[in-house]
């Protein structure tokens, strides 16, 4: 078993009818990492995750899950929170967690003990014997999440885990993800909310139009865009556009432009020599959000026939 990668896939493709929803995605999730799959709605994130887990079979490509060529063989080592949450409404919260653990091979006695602990830790101890149909949507979602970790999986796959949660529960979920990472689990989750990815991900892949557009760390993603400079001269009359880069745009008293390849120093030298001075200067690194928008907005690369 190759311990370096918890998940690896190459050339995954899936067609629904005439539409190719996943079109040759490669992915490699390092063991022990928190790995994000980012993409706009309909990008193919969920289909990719479902193929990785063996819920559906790819039309093309290969994947391994925890070293197993067939994901089913590793199913007891995996926890999964699907995008479309689903629990039996007539089940009690504790029983739902025990059942989900039992599906993954956890014996019922251990499942019962852990379910109580997990519910208490999540602040849901009072709802242990409450039927799912009587819980709020957010509480039910947390119960399902607890059910997906009760068997202490080596790999935790979460599809849009933050959707539908209020900010308090989003923080709880982030803490739970980091807790699972600290326990030694690998986390693979999909989202289109950049803030979560920026805070949690060690690495990420950006998928759009069924294709992987980027793979790397958050910093590397942000690095795909050049930093932007915001400059306010002390003497606006002397800050001639000729002294600034060609893309400089005036916004009130400020000038904004992309940080030149040669750095900011030559520009500042020219401005100081001309007596424009510096009232204010900031170099802003692009956010993941901006990088995402730029990456996703790129035209799809045409594949050779």
């Amino acid at each position: 078993m190759d311990n370096q990668w918890a998940v690896s896939a190459s050339g995954l493709a899936k067609r629904f009818g005439d539409r190719r929803v996943v079109d040759g995605v490669d992915i490699a999730v390092p063991t022990g990492a928190v790995y994000g799959v980012l993409g706009p709605n309909g990008a193919g994130k969920t289909t990719t995750l479902r193929m990785l887990l063996g819920i559906i079979e790819p039309d093309e490509g290969h994947r391994t899950l925890l070293g197993h060529a067939h994901p089913r063989d590793a199913s007891d080592l995996v926890g999964y929170l699907p995008e479309e949450r689903g629990l039996y409404p007539a089940m009690k919260a504790r029983d739902a967690i025990i059942f989900m653990g039992a599906l993954r091979g956890l014996d019922r006695a251990t499942g019962r003990a852990r379910a109580g602990e997990l519910l208490d830790q999540a602040g849901l101890g009072h709802a242990a014997d409450t039927k799912i149909r009587k819980l709020s949507k957010g509480m039910a979602q947390l119960v399902q999440l607890l059910g997906s970790v009760v068997h202490r999986p080596k790999l935790l796959v979460l599809d849009e885990p933050f959707s539908g949660l209020d900010p308090v529960n989003q923080e709880r979920l982030e803490a739970l993800i980091l807790g699972e990472r600290d326990r030694g689990a690998t986390i693979l989750f999909s989202t289109h909310v950049m803030a979560h990815a920026e805070r949690l991900c060690d690495r990420l892949a950006i998928i759009a139009g069924g294709q992987r557009r980027f793979e790397g760390t958050v910093d590397e993603a942000r690095g795909t865009l050049r930093s932007r400079v915001r400059y306010r001269p002390r003497d606006p009359e002397r800050a001639s556009p000729d002294l600034l880069p060609a893309d400089a745009v005036r916004e009130g008293e400020d000038w904004r432009f992309v940080l030149p390849d040669e750095g900011i120093e030559p520009v500042l030298g020219r401005l100081l020599a001309a007596g424009a001075g510096i009232m204010n200067l900031s170099i802003e690194r692009p956010s993941l959000h901006e990088a995402f928008v730029r990456i996703v907005g790129e035209p799809v690369e045409e594949k050779a026939a």
């Binding site: 887990l53 559906i56 039309d59 699907p82 059942f99 989900m100 993954r104 091979g105």
Partner: protein, 408 residues
């Protein structure tokens, strides 16, 4: 853990959930006691009808208009003849009238009597009596003729018929009677059909719950769909066994509620393979019939996306079951015919036909072959159901069978 053990564990996890979710609900009590409700209404109706019938029967008489000299012989003949009848099958009570006036007119007048309802009236000389009878009175008329014959014989033998002191010794035949075997075969087929008709159809809607509340995604990610299908089938089979066990126990304890005709029928069961083996085979074939029909219904029901579609399936499902029953009965009436062979080989009718065969033939090896054949088809139906569901509902291609997978 081996793949087989894991599949078994996953199957039983699903089965347990379905069993518990079905049994621990108020609706299950309604389901469990549905026969009681049916029996209660039937009993009330039957009691009312029986009371009305008894009330009428109390007033029905067969009448013999005979001279006083032979009245005693007539009464004695009635006593002798009556003992061969069961209580509820006895002819109406005998009334003796002395001749007065014109016999034919007296007999006709007897039907108008306000004291009783005459169903047949005998008059005239005993060697050539005339018997008038009313509607449904032909058997009563025959009975009066038999009494006349006995009374005449007694009269000619000096007033009394010779007494015969018979020694009755119960005897159990070693070989089942042909009539008993046929009756047992029919009962076996009908029993399997009756139980599966009421119980197997429930399987059709079981996947609807998972589809409607999205749990199917959780299940499909954790366990193979084959385990989901088989688990659901076994869970519902557990419910059926609980139902049958409950009512079997109740009926076993309260045999007095069974009608005498039924008790007699049970006593005449004479399967060719012997009663213990027949019981075992009957239970096994019911299991196979449930699993075979249930797996087909589950497969079809899993494709339905709404409750309306599932409800619409109930009629074709019933027709399929009745069709299998009819096919089997046709084969049963002509053993060794091609129809019988088809019924025994066709997977959905095979359990019915083989249950019938257990009653009619003492060979055991065909049952071993049939059970293996039926188990194979259960596996085929479950696998097909899972694949159709994966393709149609999960929109996936099929999983490669494990023997065609490359090693990890």
């Amino acid at each position: 853990m081996s793949r087989t053990r894991r599949l078994l564990r996953q199957t039983m996890t699903i089965a347990r959930r379905d069993f518990v979710a079905t049994v621990f609900t108020p609706i299950f009590l309604l389901f469990l006691f549905a026969p009681l409700i049916m029996v209660a209404f039937s009993t009330i109706g039957a009691m009312g009808a029986a009371q009305a019938a008894d009330h009428g029967a109390d007033h029905v008489r067969i009448v013999a208009i005979v001279p006083n000299a032979v009245a005693g012989a007539f009464v004695e003949a009635d006593k002798r003849a009556r003992i061969v009848f069961r209580r509820d099958e006895e002819p109406p009570a005998l009334a003796i009238l002395s001749p007065s006036g014109e016999p034919a007119a007296q007999a006709r007048k007897t039907f108008e009597s306000g004291d009783y309802d005459a169903t047949a009236v005998l008059y005239g000389p005993l060697d050539r009596p005339t018997i008038l009878y009313g509607p449904r009175g032909t058997r009563a008329a025959d009975y009066l003729a038999v009494l006349a014959s006995s009374a005449l014989s007694a009269e000619r033998l000096g007033g009394e018929l010779p007494r015969v002191e018979a020694t009755k010794v119960p005897f159990s035949r070693q070989r089942a009677t042909l009539g008993g075997q046929n009756q047992t075969a029919f009962l076996a087929v009908f029993g399997v059909f009756f139980l599966t008709l009421f119980l197997a159809g429930q399987v059709v809607g079981t996947m609807a719950e998972e589809r409607s509340n999205k749990v199917i995604e959780v299940l499909a990610a954790a366990v193979p769909l084959e385990a989901v299908f088989l688990g659901k089938l076994l869970g519902m089979f557990g419910v059926a066994v609980l139902f049958i066990g409950f009512w079997g126990t109740v009926l076993g304890q309260v045999t007095s509620v069974l009608p005498p005709a039924f008790s007699g029928m049970v006593g005449e069961l004479s399967p060719a393979v012997g009663l213990p083996m027949f019981t075992l085979l009957f239970v096994t074939y019911f299991t196979m019939a449930y699993l075979l029909l249930g797996s087909v219904f589950l497969t079809i029901g899993a494709q339905a996306s709404t409750m309306r579609e599932i409800q619409m399936l109930s009629l074709p499902i019933t027709i399929v079951q009745v069709g299998m029953f009819t096919l089997t009965l046709s084969g049963l009436s002509k053993p060794d015919s091609w129809l019988a062979v088809i019924a025994e080989v066709f997977p959905l009718s095979s359990p019915f036909a083989m249950a019938g065969m257990a009653a009619a033939s003492d060979s055991l090896w065909p049952h071993a072959v049939a059970l293996a054949w039926q188990a194979l088809w259960v596996a085929i139906f479950v696998t097909m159901g899972a694949r159709l569901f994966r393709r149609g509902v999960l929109q996936s291609g099929s999983v490669r069978p494990f023997w065609r997978r490359k090693g990890a």
